[in-house]
């Protein structure tokens, strides 16, 4: 209620008389009380005055980016109305709008547009519900979103997620400010600070950490050590080598893991010496012979080898796997007479050691991001899937693929799908760059078409279908048009499958068209 001028005692008296009742106070009648109250009510309302203004908020920082084109603003509003999620069923022929928001945001951010301010609440709400959207939303939403987040507790995540937005971090080169916060800050602030400094100047971050290392708690040491992953280099070796002697086992293991990712480190050399001594080429038989270590000595443990295997694994093969995994891959050529990775992987391995050896090489190739070894271990995509080299799991294949150049990756997955169909392809498709290369897109669509002809239901492929909607090149829509018609169901097909497929393809084409429209709407107007 707005403060009224002349809030006299007369109104308060009227209220207290009314509360008790005129029956107990003979001085007035109910009618007279109501008359007086009516007069007073209208008088009070007619005489309302503004209240004293509260301190106004600091104005939000200017956002110098250009405003969205009108059509793109319209599109964003539509995408955001779908944000509450629609139950997760992937039936029907309409596109799944929320799934397109990340792409829309990425494109808009690529062009560097400012958001329409009135859509910021909806954007922040969308990011609140989906952590994966946050980085893109916050980039797009810009300074005004942070300004809003300070006013509304629901959007606190925006302040947490943006370094420097909460308790402002000092600039990474502000040595004094950094030193003070490092010395006095809360744990979360210190982690954020260390990460920021590490990105700016790896050596400075290491020096910061080394300065207080002995006094940190074990859990904190682990977290701090982890932040050295960013910008890891040979210069970190000395510090990490010291950490190998840490009191905490977890800290030791992390230090060893980081060192083994540095192929020129002394630890990597020690591990390689151990690993190489276990593996030999029997030249006469042309067979790789493995002699796993017989014990895990103190030196091995110091280098990060975990002595006790998980339940169900033999000790010796467990130790062996850890040695090979941590050994630099480029040392193996010498051990095998100058052979290439392909030739080494092709060698027969005696006594069932192949799985163990190749599995460890895979982990090493992933950790050391070694393209040549990754390619060799992946093998030809057309090889029978399960019997691939070293019985490499799909998850490992996906990781190995990540080490290959984009075009080669797409070609490999395309050939894999052509040979093996879609049932194992989901994880592999996930590591391919978007939009998919033409040959990969065609392979996926052909495989979907084959699945339809085989008479199965489309939702057996809903994962791949969803990926295709988001990742196929929008220009493919034209080629796919023919698939959207309902077709006669083949003999023995699941009942009604034909209609569902037509619907699924309609959604695919509709989504591709929509993505093309989204892209075109966001294109900046051509000057002149």
């Amino acid at each position: 209620m707005i403060a009224s001028s002349g809030v006299g005692s007369s109104w308060d008296e009227l209220v207290s008389t009314a509360l008790l009742g005129t029956g107990r106070r003979s001085s007035t009648t109910p009618e007279a009380l109501l008359d007086a109250a009516a007069l007073e009510t209208v008088r009070r309302r007619a005489g309302l005055r503004p209240v004293v203004a509260a301190a106004p908020p600091e104005p939000a920082l200017d956002d110098p980016r250009p405003a969205l084109p009108a059509a793109a603003r319209h599109r964003l509003a539509v995408l955001l109305t779908d944000r509450a999620g629609s139950g997760g069923t992937r039936r029907g022929s309409a596109p799944d709008l929320l799934e397109l928001l990340p792409q829309w945001l990425a494109t808009a951010n690529g062009h560097g547009y400012a958001p329409p301010p009135e859509l910021l609440p909806a954007l922040l709400d969308a990011a609140r519900g989906r952590t994966d959207l946050r980085p893109q939303v916050l980039t797009f939403a810009g300074p005004r979103a942070l300004w809003l987040a300070r006013l509304n507790g629901d959007w606190k995540f925006a302040l947490r997620a943006t370094p420097g937005a909460g308790a402002a971090l000092p600039a990474p080169d502000d040595t004094e400010g950094v030193g003070r916060l490092w010395g006095e800050g809360l744990f979360a602030e210190r982690v954020a600070l260390l990460a920021a400094v590490r990105v700016h100047d790896p050596a400075a971050a290491r020096a910061l950490l080394a300065g207080t290392w002995r006094t940190e708690r074990a859990e904190d040491r682990l977290m701090f050590l982890d932040s050295l992953r960013t910008g890891l280099g040979d210069a970190d070796e000395e510090f990490l080598e010291q950490a190998l002697g840490d009191r905490s086992r977890n800290v030791r293991a992390t230090a060893a893991e980081l060192l083994s990712a540095l192929p020129r480190s002394a630890l990597a050399a020690r591990m390689a010496d151990r690993a190489l001594s276990c593996v030999a080429l029997d030249r006469a038989a042309g067979v790789v012979v493995v002699e796993a270590p017989h014990e895990c000595d103190a030196a091995m443990e110091r280098d990060g080898v975990v002595a006790v295997p998980p339940t169900g694994r033999g000790e010796r093969s467990w130790w062996f796997g850890q040695l090979v995994e941590a050994a630099p891959l480029d040392r193996w050529a010498a051990r095998f007479g100058g052979r290439t990775p392909e030739e080494i992987v092709a060698l027969e391995v005696a006594d069932d050691w192949q799985g163990e050896l190749h599995g460890a090489w895979c982990r090493a190739a992933v950790r050391q991001r070694d393209t040549a070894w990754s390619r060799a271990l992946l093998g030809p995509p057309t090889a029978p899937g399960a019997a691939g080299p070293g019985a490499v799991s799909l998850a490992e294949r996906a990781k190995l693929l990540a080490a290959l150049p984009g075009a080669e990756r797409a070609a490999w997955v395309a050939a894999f799908i052509a040979a093996h169909g879609l049932s194992e392809a989901f994880q592999l498709l996930g590591v391919c760059g978007t939009p998919w290369a033409p040959e990969l897109g065609r392979a996926v669509v052909d495989a979907l078409n084959i699945a339809r002809d085989a008479g199965s239901y489309p939702w057996s492929f809903s994962g791949v279908m969803g990926l295709a909607e988001r990742c196929l090149d929008p220009e493919e829509a034209v080629r796919l048009e023919g698939l959207t018609a309902a077709v006669d169901e083949p003999e023995g097909a699941a009942p009604g499958a034909g209609g569902y497929w037509a619907e699924a393809f309609q959604r695919l084409v509709g989504t591709l068209r929509l993505r093309r429209a989204m892209r075109d709407e966001l294109a900046p107007p051509v000057a002149g």
Binding site: L20, T29, L34, A54, T81, A517
Partner: protein, 454 residues
């Protein structure tokens, strides 16, 4: 060549949806995928075929340029109105000429329906407007009105009795008596054919449970009800204008008698409230030439959106006739579909807004609020004074607090985001309970009008 100007925005289309589910379903259909054969005319007709799960596509046609608001026709079986296909089609159309071409010729199936509507509108226009169907038997009508007045008088007398009983016993007893007492009295007022009194009585029942300070609020409302009773019982002694206000507050129907006023009306706000059975849509218009403000009401039964649709931010060439003693008006004739642009009302500061409300109380002491435009105000959080929000004048001295409902609504955050701590112009209801923002815009030229109601 682009018709972007008269195409609606997404928000304007989505405002048509009868419920949240329809909004969502419509958004999904607002993409080119399922649509074919779409087109539109410059007069506001839009059509298209939507591929559904069946073998035959649904035929959807919408006419937003009609004399009596938007109309929809769709071959789908949905009982929602408008259905998701109509919403999707309009969203697609809002997206631009690339998706729904403009200046097209309607296919036969759409043309048939559109022509039927135009004929109907013609017939209505040709019918004599001035004399609203004179009653068949004036004498019988006069007797009916007399009987009703007698019933209302009996009801008002009874209500006076209840009020004096209450005040004699004290308001404290109202807290124990609870809701039932008021429900019963409200039912008696419905019997007395005084819906205005019935609604006020029903509202009284909720006050004792409304938190601290309720006795003062209850006394205010009882006193105003008493004032209305007295006004009715002694209307012969009142000036005619005030007597008309009393009659309309009691609940007697008033018809639009004012001269139709043709103007370019800027649509300031459109929002719905629902009591579960009936959806009431309120549309605020601002006459860009006359400077008048008018309120249009439209109703929809359960599950149907009210038929009158005027998207905020657009300007409508139409004539509107008012009702005596209120802002209520009726749309008498519409000349073409709403178009973009149009002057915005110049605003006032917080003090003038309240003074305006105070002035209007002279003609209608039961007035809850008055529509005003505040200019150069900044939404500010009153962290010390109870945690509410207010609109502060740019000089940082005086402010209007927002109503508690407005503080809790999602529209508040759109307003805050729009402002970013800088002055904005806000249109809304200014009353004794505070200010309720309905729409806002920033100071830059061509800044869009942002609806703040949901």
């Amino acid at each position: 060549m682009t018709q972007q100007g008269v195409r609606w925005t997404t928000d304007q289309v989505l405002a048509l949806a009868p419920d949240v589910a329809s909004r969502k379903a419509g958004s999904k259909l607002g993409t080119a995928g399922p649509w074919s054969g779409t087109g539109s005319t410059d007069e506001g007709a839009v059509w298209g075929q939507c591929k559904g799960s069946g073998s035959r596509p649904y035929l959807t046609v919408v006419d937003i340029g009609g004399a009596q608001g938007a109309a929809y026709k769709c071959s789908c079986p949905s009982r929602k109105f408008p259905c998701k296909h109509a919403l999707g089609l309009l969203l697609l159309w809002a997206g631009g000429a690339a998706q729904v071409p403009g200046s097209a010729a309607a296919p036969d199936w759409a043309e048939e329906w559109l022509a039927g509507r135009r004929e109907g509108a013609e017939r209505q226009r040709a019918a004599p407007q001035g004399a609203p169907a004179a009653p068949a038997d004036p004498e019988a009508a006069r007797r009916r009105a007399e009987r009703r007045a007698q019933r209302i008088t009996a009801g008002a007398t009874e209500l006076e009795q209840r009020l004096t009983d209450l005040l004699r016993g004290g308001l404290a007893q109202a807290e124990q008596a609870g809701y039932g007492l008021w429900e019963e009295t409200a039912a008696r007022m419905v019997d007395a054919q005084a819906p205005g009194l019935a609604a006020r009585v029903r509202d009284l029942g909720a006050i004792p449970g409304s938190g601290p300070g309720w006795p003062a609020r209850l006394l205010e409302e009882c006193a105003l009800l008493h004032l209305l009773d007295r006004g009715w019982l002694r209307q012969a002694e009142l000036p005619e204008e005030l007597a008309a206000t009393v009659r309309s507050r009691v609940g007697l129907p008033a018809s639009a008698t004012g001269e139709p006023l043709r103007d370019h009306w800027l649509i300031l706000s459109q929002y719905d409230t629902s009591d579960g059975h009936l959806t009431t849509r309120r549309i605020w218009l601002y006459g860009t030439e006359s400077g008048r403000t008018a309120l249009l009401l439209s109703y929809g039964a359960a599950g149907r959106a009210p038929s009158l649709v005027l998207p905020p931010g657009l300007t409508l060439d139409a004539s509107v006739s008012g009702r005596p003693g209120s802002l209520r008006a009726e749309l008498t004739e519409q000349f073409g579909a709403p178009v973009a642009g149009g002057a915005r009302p110049a605003g006032v500061d917080a003090g003038s807004a309240l003074a305006r409300y105070g002035d209007e109380l002279r003609a209608d002491p039961w007035l809850e609020s008055w529509p005003v435009t505040l200019t150069g105000v900044v939404p500010a959080h009153d962290a010390d004074g109870g945690g509410g929000w207010q609109l502060a004048d740019a000089d940082g001295k005086s402010a209007l607090p927002l109503t508690p409902a407005a503080t809790a609504s999602p529209g508040l955050w759109r307003l805050v985001a729009l402002s970013g701590g800088s002055p904005v112009t806000v249109f809304g209801d200014c009353g004794h309970a505070g200010f309720r923002p309905l729409s806002a815009w920033s100071g830059t030229p061509d800044a869009p009008l942002i609806p703040l109601t949901d």
